[in-house]
Amino acid sequence: MSDNTTHNILQIDTFACAWCGLTVSAVAADGTRRNHCPSCLHSRHVLDHVEGGPSRCHGRMSPIAIAVLRTGDWMVVHRCVRCDELTSNPVCADDNQLILMRMAVRPLAQPPFPLEAFGTL
């Protein structure tokens, strides 16, 4: 099935999301290449970032965090559910804003220490 997906990217520039099954065009509206589903932000582990080159894992990568670059752009940090590797990818303009904001405020929902003391700072 994973071979099918890569074939699809090469031939007709679409891929099926590994999580929600949405058929996504591999090129976003502004011409940049997409590597995660704009609806559920899940991705697929096809690049090996430790050694470089393609990865044989092909596991599903779930979004776990938002990172901010110095330029102010947001990156989505993905984690492979099979081999626990982390990648970061820039967000697209049409990515699901609800899931992006939910990931950004998710740590504040369960803080490990009381946040009331920061009100007096």
Binding site: V68, P111, P112
Partner: protein, 141 residues
Amino acid sequence: MPRRTHARGRGQDRRPQRHKDVLHGRGGHRAHDFRCVHCRLDVPLDAPGTAHRNHCPHCLASLHVDRRTPGDRGSDCRGRMEALGVSARPDGEWMIIHQCRSCGELSANRIAGDDNALALVRLVLRPLTDTGIARRALLAM
């Protein structure tokens, strides 16, 4: 300067140095500490709440020593890793996402009980404080 009149003859009957039980050198009482690459803080390895401390509790910086699995010490990069963001596990536990400044590799580590709470909250609020994307996202919802 006082003149030493009997400099040669007094060496033999000198009292030996006392035994010192405080050892500041290598292998002393801080043999297991590591020094933070960012703020030079001496950090003891035993941390409250975690058995695998890998970042400075003051500035949250770390060092790129592991290759694939945490603790394998297989990387020869030795670059400085800076805290990039915070992710929450499904059970609500916070993880710090580190990125190596020299090779761009990412890693995740649980927070420790003595980590700087202000630095952690600043890290969490970083996506929300910049004006552009967060405000547009909130307005679009």
